[in-house]
């Protein structure tokens, strides 16, 4: 059976950008008197922020429209995500930033680090120094200290508090959320997949700053619908469509053009292996260690971002995902001037081709639409070879 099925999240925001749904939820939280902390990156420790009674809000970073304004200050030859983020702030067009009482940033890359310097005066801002050789004992000790310092900042700024028991409870809650998200991903692993990238992305975007409790009803409903789709023999996309895994830089908003091109070329995206996709949900924090903040530090330093070195975990995690999702091709999306993902792409390509024997394509792009036809030619050629 193919045809229309009930959307996994069926509300007034269905079919539109996932940001509006999240914004409405945050506005509700705000009405309840909760404080909001704007975050830019998956390294911001959600469990701690939530344990302190604060809601994390992912700040806008994916629009081409704000880049022109950003380039009045920032160099043009910079990552579009950083330019867009900054442009949103100086044009005052990011509603999430507007809602935020404070901003949390991390020293993931030089571009972000220096951009943060330009916005620290606007709102209470806390920059976490992220260690980048993550398996060193000192790295874990330092990141533990940084999380504690963030806790101190949030206490000082909001008068919010969290006991270690509350942080431990938050860890368990987020682990439950992550496990349910992984259950959802299992339905993309089905052959044929019973869910497409848009619905996966809606869920990964919504879950980002949400607690397990807040996600429970949405995910329970989504899982029931997916189960029904599978039992009814529903299939997402054309019969025999090549399955594509997308990896690399975060993708959202105007960069979704790449996802659209893949589908237009006849592919089905079965895995979104970026921090805007599955990555935040793939690993859990160890429970019951007696030191929940150190447990968080260990878990966050296991995020295989290209800012880490040597980022071998990216390859082992990718292998795990490839074996589960069984893609026919892998596409690495690199945002223009993102040196770490760009250079790492060589290793990723070798790994995908040599270890998994899969065709690999690297796409370097930005948020403009100028290169859509060039990308289309490459993607079509890749899928023709599947």
């Amino acid at each position: 059976m193919k045809g229309t099925v009930e959307p996994l999240i069926n509300d007034e925001y269905t079919g539109g950008p996932p940001t509006k749904r999240v914004l409405a939820r945050l506005q509700e939280k705000r009405k309840e008197g909760r404080k909001i902390a704007g975050v830019y990156c998956g390294y911001a420790p959600t469990e701690l922020i939530l344990a302190m009674g604060i809601s994390p809000a992912t700040l806008c970073a994916f629009s081409n429209a704000t880049i022109e304004a950003a380039e009045t200050v920032l160099p043009a030859n910079l990552c579009p995500l950083i330019k867009s983020s900054y442009g949103f702030i100086i044009t005052d067009t990011c509603p999430f930033y507007g809602l935020s009482d404070a901003v949390i940033g991390e020293t993931t890359c030089d571009g972000k680090k220096k951009m943060f310097e330009l916005i620290t005066d606007l709102k209470p801002t806390w920059i976490m120094d992220l260690p980048q050789v993550p398996d060193e004992e000192e790295a874990i000790a330092n990141w533990t200290a940084m999380i504690r310092k963030l806790q101190g900042f949030l206490e000082a700024t909001f008068g919010a508090h969290a006991t270690d028991e509350a942080i431990e409870e938050s860890i368990r809650d987020i682990n439950r959320r992550n496990a349910m998200m992984r259950d959802v991903f299992e339905f993309a692993a089905e052959r044929p997949a019973v869910v497409g990238w848009r619905e996966l992305y809606d869920l990964t975007f919504l879950a980002q700053g949400s607690s397990g409790k807040d996600m429970e009803s949405v995910l329970t409903e989504a899982l029931a619908k997916l189960e029904k789709r599978r039992n009814d023999g529903y299939r997402y996309g054309p019969a025999g469509a090549p399955r594509v895994m997308v990896t690399g830089c975060p993708v959202g908003g105007d960069a979704e053009k790449v996802f659209a091109i893949i589908e237009e070329a006849g592919g089905v995206i079965v895995a979104l292996d970026a921090c805007s996709g599955f990555k935040p949900y793939m690993t859990d924090t160890e429970e019951g260690t007696g030191d929940p903040v150190r447990a968080l530090a260990e878990r966050y330093l296991r995020i295989p971002c290209s800012c880490m070195t040597p980022n071998t975990r990216r390859l082992t995690e990718m292998s795990r995902l490839i074996e589960k999702m069984r893609p026919d091709a892998v596409i690495d999306v690199v945002l223009q001037a993102c040196h770490s993902f760009n250079i790492e792409s060589h290793k990723v390509g070798q790994h995908v081709e040599k270890v998994h024997g899969l065709p690999f394509l690297k796409i370097v792009t930005d948020f403009s639409l100028g290169d859509v036809e060039q990308i289309r030619t490459r993607v079509e050629a890749l899928l023709e070879s599947c």
Binding site: V364, E380, A381, E384
Partner: protein, 270 residues
């Protein structure tokens, strides 16, 4: 059955019609600002049963002619293999793209690399640089072959390279030396792209830039590998599309689609 391949490139449109694997018609024209009209003009009066489109304008054709499309990468792989059976490595430098394609032992596309999204180091780059030196394309290649000494061109961005050419000529550099420098710049960029996916073996060189004698010589010299250039390197993509059309199942209505009326493009039977 007569099978046609139409390659709507960024600078030129090409049509090849084959019957029993032999080319019976080959035409080319300029893409201009209206690729659909250019394609229509090119296929007017041509006699074929099935047609497949490729090149940048392929989706436009798909919309208007309701014909299947393949990417130019696949088209070049098919065409090159049919023209030169032992072919495993293809370099295609067209109007706005440079592609390196690697075939597996079965002759299927195994891997490809393309230049960045801008037209640096492609046919369009050559055209603009020739113009900056006040040469025609033919004179440009010949001039570069006249000299041994090349002025180094450092910038591959078309706009910056043009400024560099102007500064060089303003400093009194000889035109042929600058011309050779530009040719070398394109070649080093293309061979770097090629080496990334195919470090050894004979190279099948196609696309409009393969018509340039100086580029051909420099590529062979730079790679120190045999370079094979087909008799009409611009037609490889259209030929590959025609082969695909011939091998695909005949379409439901294999009516002859060519319209009536003449055309101003060069026409040859091969």
């Amino acid at each position: 059955m007569r099978a046609a391949g139409l390659d709507i490139g960024s600078r030129t449109v090409k049509l090849v019609v084959i019957e029993d694997g032999r080319t019976i018609l080959a035409r080319k024209g300029l893409t201009s600002h209206d690729p659909l009209e250019a394609a229509r003009t090119l296929i007017a009066g041509a006699d074929y049963d099935v047609i497949v489109a490729t090149g940048y304008g392929r989706h436009l054709l798909k919309e208007h002619l309701d014909c299947p499309v393949i990417s130019e990468i696949k088209a070049f792989a098919l065409g090159a293999k049919a023209i030169h059976a032992p072919c495993r490595v293809i370099l295609d430098i067209g109007g706005q793209d440079t592609k390196a394609i690697c075939l597996n032992e079965a002759g299927e596309m195994a891997k490809f690399e393309m230049n960045d999204k801008c037209a640096a180091g492609t046919g369009r780059f050559l055209e603009i640089m020739a113009k900056a030196l006040n040469y025609t394309l033919e004179e440009f290649s010949k001039a570069a072959l006249l000299t041994e000494h090349a002025e180094k061109i450092n910038s591959m961005c078309t706009v910056f390279a043009e400024s560099e050419v102007i500064s060089l000529t303003a400093r009194g550099a000889s035109r042929p030396d600058v011309a050779l420098g530009i040719h070398k710049a394109i070649v080093s960029r293309s061979t770097a792209l090629l080496r990334r996916i195919a470090p050894s073996g004979e190279v099948f060189f196609a696309g409009g830039v393969a018509l340039n004698e100086c580029i051909r010589a420099l590529i062979a010299e730079d790679l120190n590998r045999p370079v094979v250039v087909p008799p009409d390197p611009q037609m490889v993509g259209a030929f590959g599309a025609a082969i695909h059309a011939a091998s695909a199942r005949p379409r439901r209505e294999s009516a002859k689609r060519g319209g009536s009326g003449g055309h101003d493009n060069s026409e040859r039977s091969v």
